[in-house]
Structures are given as structure tokens and as C-alpha cells.
């Protein structure tokens, strides 16, 4: 395959204004604002292979969206270079964006008052898609998503999940080689998330390269082959998902609502990591020691609970683990 994206020493610095709180500070900042430099992205380098799905992970404010914006050419870097399919995204914008697609989970391309099918037609005109290609792609993608029925309803009456599926169709109508996804599953229910992941997987099988930013580890676990983790604008991890698992260990987080308070768990490989209240506890389960199946069996013997949810490790904990493993290596 070959490298399709090369990011080298990417930096984005911008200025924001510091404002104090309270009336006095508000009045002061009206006359004199103090500019504060912010490094949203600081010296990030990575590469993406053609046909890959790469996950850019990080907590809120880590610099994921800024990185995506620079990759799409909608924001200029302060320094560093980006090469996507031999394009420099900051130059020849029109030719470049014709080759890429983008879905921003919190921004919409769809026109609110009219059905998605009319928005698709507008994109058909914008990208100069032939009637034949347009019809073929609409048929394939609406079928994949199962949205044939609601693309003719006004966008405003669609659910978030339905809208997001239509956003994907909108972004991929022109058959882009690379698609940038910024938090595409944010706010969606489990079923909608799964449908979108299946779609991404299917389109990837057909040759599209995806760059996905998320703070949902499950998105990445199900889709990405490689991961870049960013924290405070700096890259803290760039490797395969398998190697991330090695760093983190195979750990699941289980949240329990108990019927009666519990002193000790007494299950090997599982430990209580947080007590929100007497009856609400969070347990960490090491899957290298005990399987979820065995854990559940022992848990039901040891205690009674009214609710249980199995979660991925929070992003902050992952980053702590990565920093810790780096220290250990040193």
C-alpha cells in the first residue's frame, strides 16, 4: 500500500485572551485584554498508510480537533508539514478538499429544513458528481445504513443517529480517498454507534482510509489498526492497538450498584478502584487473570447487585498508564 499521510513536527500556536471573573475584572478586560499563547498542537509527527483506519485519541482539549482541522486544510499550522496524497492541505485548497471527506460529530453539512436527499443533491452539484455515480453511491450507502425511508423526511425531524448516518452519506458521496472523522459517534446510542462502525468498516474494506478522532476507546478498539494518543497538544503514544493493550493490560472497568454495602470483593484479578457511595462502586478487572465470564459468576456468588455496566478504561487513566509505562522504561 504506501504512506498516504505524513505529518511532521506539526505545531499550532494561537493566542487567546485571559479574562478574570467578576464585575471589576470584566470592566478591566474591556479596556485591556491580556493575550495568552496556547499550544493546541505541539510537535506532533505520525504517518498513515493507505487503507488504514487510524484513531487519534485524547481527552477533551487535547488537540485532536485542531489536528484534524489542519489535516483537512481548514486551519493553517504555525509550523511543521503535512502531506496528504501528495497535497499540502494549505495550498490548492479546492483541489485538495475534492479528494477528502469529513464528518464533524458536532457540526452539520445537512440543511435543517429540507430532507437529506435535497442536501445530497446540493453536494452532487458542488462536487460535480455524474448522475450515474450519484445514483449508484446513494443506493449503496442508503442500503448500508438502512436509511432509505427517512432521507426524504425533513432533517429537523430526524433523530441524532439518523442525522449522523446522513452526514456520512453526505461526506462520502464524492467517493473520497481519505475521510476525516471528528468524534463521529458522540452522543449516539449503542445501536447507532454500531451501525456507524459497521459502515466505516465496510467503506474501509472498499479502500477508503479513515482518520478518526474520538475519546471513546470502543470506537478505536473496533475500528482502528493504529492509534495516536494526544494529551495537552503532545503525542504520548503512536503504535498499534495490540501494543496499547500491552501497555494498559487487558483491563475492564465495571460499575456496580449494590443491594447491600460490600467491604471486600474477594475476587482474584478484580479490585475496587472507586466508591462513589456505599452502594455504588467501580471495579477494575484484569482480564489476563480472570475472564469477564468467571468474574460475573464469582460476583453473583459474593454479592447482590441491582445494576451493572462494563466500561472501557477512561481516557485519563489510559494516559496515566502510558506515562507510567514510559517512566518504568526509563
Amino acid at each position: 500500500m504506501g504512506t498516504i499521510i505524513t505529518v511532521d513536527k506539526l505545531v499550532k500556536r494561537y493566542e487567546t485572551y485571559k479574562r478574570g471573573s467578576g464585575f471589576k475584572e470584566s470592566v478591566r478586560s474591556f479596556f485591556h485584554r491580556v493575550a495568552v499563547p496556547v499550544f493546541a498542537v505541539n510537535d506532533i509527527s505520525f504517518t498513515v498508510e493507505q487503507g488504514d483506519i487510524i484513531g487519534i485519541l485524547g481527552p477533551n482539549g487535547a488537540g485532536k480537533s485542531t489536528t484534524i482541522k489542519m489535516l483537512t486544510g481548514t486551519l493553517y499550522p504555525t509550523s511543521g508539514t503535512i502531506k496528504v496524497m501528495d497535497f499540502n492541505p494549505t495550498k490548492n485548497r479546492k483541489a485538495y478538499v475534492h479528494q477528502i471527506g469529513a464528518v464533524f460529530g458536532q457540526k452539520s453539512q445537512l440543511i435543517w429544513d429540507i430532507p437529506p436527499i435535497d442536501s445530497f443533491r446540493l453536494n452532487k452539484a458542488i462536487y460535480g458528481i455524474s448522475d450515474k455515480d450519484y445514483q449508484e453511491r446513494i443506493d449503496v450507502m442508503t442500503h448500508l445504513f438502512g436509511v432509505e425511508d427517512f432521507i426524504t423526511r425533513p432533517t429537523r425531524v430526524l433523530s441524532l443517529g439518523e442525522r449522523m448516518k446522513c452526514e456520512f452519506i453526505m461526506a462520502m458521496l464524492h467517493n473520497p480517498k481519505v475521510v476525516f472523522l471528528d468524534e463521529p459517534t458522540i452522543g449516539l446510542d449503542v445501536i447507532a454507534k454500531q451501525k456507524i462502525r459497521e459502515f466505516i468498516h465496510e467503506m474501509n474494506q472498499r479502500g477508503t482510509t479513515f482518520i478518526l478522532t474520538t475519546h471513546d476507546l470502543e470506537d478505536v478498539e473496533q475500528l482502528a489498526k493504529n492509534i495516536v494518543i494526544i494529551n495537552h497538544g503532545e503525542k504520548v503514544f503512536d503504535d498499534s492497538i495490540e501494543n496499547l493493550r500491552k501497555v494498559l493490560g487487558a483491563v475492564k472497568i465495571v460499575q456496580l450498584v449494590l443491594q447491600r454495602p460490600l467491604e471486600e470483593l474477594n475476587i482474584q484479578g478484580a479490585s475496587i478502584i472507586e466508591r462513589a457511595s456505599e452502594l455504588n462502586i467501580t471495579v477494575s478487572v484484569d482480564l489476563d487473570i480472570i475472564s469477564i465470564n468467571d468474574f460475573m459468576a464469582q460476583l453473583s456468588k459474593n454479592c447482590e447487585f441491582t445494576d451493572i455496566s462494563i466500561k472501557e478504561m477512561p481516557m485519563e487513566t489510559i494516559i496515566t498508564h502510558i506515562y507510567q509505562s514510559k517512566k518504568d522504561e526509563e
Binding site: 485548497r93 479546492k94 440543511i111 429544513d113 429540507i114 446540493l122
Partner: protein, 260 residues
């Protein structure tokens, strides 16, 4: 070029579809805009009805100037005024990236996407007064008509320049919804016979912010009351539009450069 025409046609289709979704809103908007802008000719009629008036201009001549101004406003509202609000909103809500992701000229796309048919009532109202006024003044020759059309288009260029300059300011001063009101006041100078103004205002409205070209100059040409100043204002008008386009494009590049 063909693709751009197709996009524009598609945007007009979307604008109609959107307007027809909220029929009552479309109807009310049309009527309110019509009433708001028809008020001016009504005041003119009242002034002349009471025996007063603008010295050297009869009521139909003044109505002609005002109807030309109204038609220019209506065309601008329909085709490119929307870029001001669309830019302001996109910058304020951080959605401008969605426009930059499209493989067409950003300015053109925002203009096309903000096409609105709400001002159709205003256009019909302006055209009606125009027909009444011209019927009383007398139908001019073909050459005069051509002169009028050319000056009318140049007047639209001035309005485009103003709209783009206002839109460009929203990149720097986010949420500057009052700036259009200042320009609205300046533009108002175009809807009166210029001879009623002091010389300094006349010069400013002709050569600096050439708003006289929006209503007065095309109407004056149609009445056969053209002047050298009128033709001398053509170059400042074109420069004014070019300045608007350049400023807008510069601010788009700045947005890409400094946004977070």
C-alpha cells in the same frame, strides 16, 4: 463555470424548498418587507400631496429613484446580502470549516447558499412603482435603457462591495450585528435626489462610498438627467466591489491562519 451555474441553480432550488416549508413565515416576511420598504414612496406621496417636495424634482421622478433603489435592495437581498449573516453565524458558531471543506470558492458558496426568495415581494413592489413612475415620466429610448441597465448593475456591484466588507468584519469582530445598521444608514443616501445634499456628501456618495449609484444615478440616466459625475463614478464603484472581494478573501485566509 458550468459547475458554478449548476451549484447556483441548486441553491435557488433549495431556497425555494426551504421557503415553502414554512409557508406562513415566507408570507409574513414577504408582506413585512414589502410594507417596510413601500413606506418610503408613501411618505414621498404625502410630502408632495401637502404641497412640499424636493426642489427640481417632481413626485414621479422621486418615486422612480426610490423604486430603482427598492429593486436594487430586493435583488441584493435575494442574491448576496445573505452572505453577511451567513458569515457572521458561521464564524460565531465555529461552522466556517464546513464551508472551507467544499471544493468551490468559499465566497461564492456562502453567497449561493444564502440565496433567499423572501425579498420577492419587495422586488414586485419596487417594480410596480417603477412602472407607474416611468409611465408618467415617459418611456425612454433603447440607448437610455441600456445606460440604465449598465448603471443599475454597477449599483449592485456597490451593494455587493458593501455586503462583503460587512461580512469581512465579522471575522475580526465576532458578533458585530450592529455594523450592518451603520452601512444601511450610509446606503440610504442613494434613494434621494443627490441635488438636495451638500457638496461634501454628494462627493462622498459619488466617489468614496458610491451609494448614489444604487438608486439615484441609474434613475437619473433613465430620466435623461445624466451627468459626467455619474460616469466618473463608475470606476470608484468597480474599485469598491473589488475592495470588498479582496477584503473578504483576505479575511478567509486570516481565519484559516489564526483560528483555534
Amino acid at each position: 463555470m458550468r459547475r458554478y451555474i449548476t451549484i447556483y441553480k441548486e441553491c435557488i432550488r433549495v431556497a425555494f424548498a426551504t421557503a415553502l416549508t414554512y409557508r406562513m413565515n415566507f408570507f409574513l416576511n414577504t408582506v413585512i418587507m414589502l410594507l417596510g420598504d413601500i413606506l418610503l414612496p408613501l411618505i414621498t406621496l404625502l410630502i408632495y400631496g401637502s404641497g412640499a417636495g424636493f426642489k427640481g424634482w417632481n413626485v414621479y421622478e422621486v418615486l422612480l429613484i426610490q423604486s430603482v433603489f427598492t429593486m436594487a435592495m430586493a435583488i441584493a437581498d435575494m442574491s448576496f446580502h445573505g452572505i453577511m449573516w451567513a458569515t457572521m453565524l458561521a464564524v460565531r458558531e465555529g461552522n466556517f470549516e464546513m464551508v472551507l471543506l467544499m471544493p468551490v470558492d468559499t465566497m461564492f458558496l456562502l453567497m449561493a447558499k444564502s440565496f433567499s426568495i423572501d425579498a420577492i415581494g419587495l422586488l414586485i413592489g419596487g417594480a410596480t412603482i417603477f412602472i407607474i413612475a416611468i409611465a408618467h415620466i415617459g418611456v425612454p429610448s433603447l440607448v437610455i435603457w441600456l445606460q440604465f441597465i449598465a448603471l443599475f448593475i454597477i449599483g449592485l456591484m456597490v451593494m455587493l462591495g458593501i455586503a462583503l466588507m460587512m461580512a469581512a468584519t465579522s471575522f475580526k469582530w465576532v458578533g458585530n450585528s450592529r455594523i450592518p445598521e451603520i452601512f444601511d444608514s450610509v446606503r440610504s443616501f442613494g434613494k434621494y435626489p443627490q441635488s438636495i445634499f451638500p457638496k461634501s456628501i454628494l462627493l462622498a456618495a459619488t466617489y468614496i462610498i458610491p451609494v448614489a449609484m444604487i438608486g439615484f444615478f441609474p434613475a437619473a440616466a433613465l430620466m435623461g438627467r445624466g451627468s459626467y459625475a455619474m460616469f466618473g463614478a463608475v470606476i470608484p464603484c468597480i474599485l469598491f466591489m473589488a475592495a470588498g472581494i479582496s477584503l473578504y478573501r483576505y479575511m478567509v485566509r486570516m481565519y484559516q491562519g489564526v483560528g483555534g
